[in-house]
Symmetry: D2
């Protein structure tokens, strides 16, 4: 648990490629998807937010950046394959040591997420700009604080089950799509000492990250994912006092 | 695990009230909902099926019936309150000792289910005869053997989240409803040595239990819920060999 | 989530019978087990703590007390049967609406806990004053903040598996006992909007609640169990905007 | 579900290195650990068992072998690093498609297991030949069929918590060790359409796999892990009938 005076250090990572080539995207997100997310997170005084993108050296995720990050937010889509394996491995390792990870939308196929989950992470999808209604199924989970029983996004890409993930430690939101599909849209995972939250919405051609409920979920998830102060895991040869055998 | 020669003994319990007063129901289910379910279960040679109803003495669930039941199937709606507390307690106790329990549709408010789960088991609902599409979310679970990625029921009552149940041990089916709702429609619970499966469909005015996919799920669930041969739970003062302290 | 200025209101409930009849107990806990627990909780400025006991009117748990309680701590042993069913039902109902519940040691058989879990909640036990070593198995859980990989209690009553509870939403501590047993000693459950934590230690003839690590776990659990601000559960007939069917 | 006439095809994989260099091991397991395990599995008429070892071409796990394997049993220790990445990836892929995987003892660090789980899979350990007592904590799970409340192994290597794995879908056995440690010794995981069981015992210098209870657990686990007949996962662009949007 962080002390009162300490801030939560958030790094928002974005592939930042759609923004450079698709005017629809750059119009909706003039400072990039990372800029939009960092923007609304910065409104909270408890958070100190920075951004990082694929085309920066080391993808903007040097050891010094990662070691100064409490929670990493990740958006990617076109260029998962360009993320260097060393960086993906470093993110995985940091999560196991406690760093929080918020995985957004098409980042379900990002290297860090797939490595941490061990499954294909594939799903069904359809680009029809249809209505999505997200229902809260675990009202006791802090990630849904401040929400009503459901909220809607007027136009979104559809993601549908079967979503090939391990059973989440908590499934907090399930989406309904007008075209006939359902999806586990808010999923908590614990891996090592780290907390991971997958949140479905955020297709690049829709203004999803400008919507208040979406922002609320991401902000709640950042707070939920802050590293705790649980015991270090002295793994390996046992050193504790040995009882008489 | 039952030996090859042993049969699985199934008791199908039904409140059997709608059938007596509503011609729509008796037309669809001339032998009652219990008769329809017992009917398709009886087609399996491994199963020996009997029925029991609310208005029989002891609701048809005497000690001798319960002790000769491997899996109990339960449908109720109008008259949950008329089920005697002793019978509900006996069912709960048998489940904790290993008897399987398949809870159908409006039996989400039946006394045995509510006692075993400990929550209100309330949900949203709407009678509009709308389309339901059930998606498989856990393809490794034996209860979905033989299904495709989803199946549809043309007209059903809507049940929607938040369904106030404890987190299921497995959520195998999620329903989409045309009117805008989602629901965890196939839920596995373990309680004591017993296995419980809640399955959503089956409003009395629709021919849902005549549909092949619905029958398949119920048959799979019966097989899944058969009592195992795990250790008896010698609870109380400890009797195992004591290590030197 | 509570605002900064708001305090967490904790009620510590104790049967308070051993303290009246057994000098060993009253010597260790001169103000009662409830007094000891309320004492160390009161050291935190964020908490406002009161106590309640079995022999007070309504067991000290009137509607006005319960409605002014964010987290209820419960210790009982000899007199579970004397707790009135209406009070047990009121506690259950409050938990489903969001009140946190911390269940200590022999309260595994208390009426509120058994009603909320639905199983027998029985276990093995042995009074031999043997050593207990509690291992952290979920280091990402906030309830183990500040602990090392394990801690020991020099002399305790043994509780051993099989502990007849539903699968916990999180198992954070597992105990080793010198005499040869293991036990899931720190278990999180979600029920309705409420969070429940069962914590094993605390036999009345040992000074367990004076031990720093035990106090730390209870304090962490109180913070974890504070009601969130998730959606109210409008259960019943559906009122949300109906999509065209 | 396999038809009556069909056999379950099991492949027992072993690194088979200790057996070549350590006489203590070859004395206990003259046909190798794989030979011992294949031996007791072959006593069941429903199983057809073959073996494969590290030093065979493609480690004995060619595509044709894997595609003819329903359940793969894996033992490794010294030479995890020598397992080729392509073979580890092929095993991972087969599991996601439904092949069962039984992971024994020191194979907690085998490449297929670590890839499928995504965590470090590290643990504490001590070679002191101490007594292990394994307690059943989920008596409803078919993997403990036929066991008593616990069983003992007279001398084993200690493995202790924190075991750095994701929360298992079921924890069926917890070990007590004389020297003061506990361990989740029987853990079920679902990944894709595949079922994985990790079972702790089996240090190479002890005759653990000759013990009846250990054999019983492995046999039960093989039956549990047989691929089901759930829906194929048509992942990718959605092809199902689109509801009117």
């Amino acid at each position: 648990m962080l002390g009162m005076a300490e801030k939560i250090r958030v790094t928002v990572w974005n592939e930042n490629r759609h923004e450079k080539t698709d005017q629809r995207v750059s119009k909706i997100y003039p400072t990039g998807i990372h800029g939009a997310i960092a923007g609304f997170l910065s409104e909270e005084r408890e958070l100190v937010t920075r951004t990082a993108t694929l085309d920066e050296p080391e993808h903007g995720l040097s050891d010094s950046v990662l070691s100064a990050t409490d929670v990493l937010v990740w958006w990617g889509h076109l260029a998962h394959g360009e993320v260097r394996d060393e960086v993906a491995a470093a993110v995985q390792s940091r999560v196991l040591q406690g760093m929080g990870l918020i995985v957004l939308h098409s980042a379900h196929l990002s290297k860090p997420f797939v490595r941490l989950l061990g499954t294909s992470c594939l799903l069904r999808w359809r680009e029809a700009g249809e209505k999505e209604r997200l229902w809260v199924v675990e009202p006791a989970n802090p990630i849904v604080d401040g929400l009503g029983p459901f909220f809607e996004i007027p136009h979104e890409e559809m993601y549908g089950e079967r979503f090939d993930i391990p059973v989440p430690e908590a499934t907090v939101l399930i989406s309904w799509f007008a075209g006939g599909n359902v999806f586990r849209s808010g999923c908590c995972f614990l891996r090592g000492k780290g907390r991971i939250f997958y949140f479905r919405p955020g297709h690049e051609t829709f203004p999803t990250y400008h919507q208040k409920e979406v922002q609320r979920v991401i902000r709640n998830a950042v707070h939920w994912a802050v590293p705790g102060n649980g015991p270090a895991m002295h793994l390996g040869a046992s050193e504790e006092p040995l009882e008489k055998i």
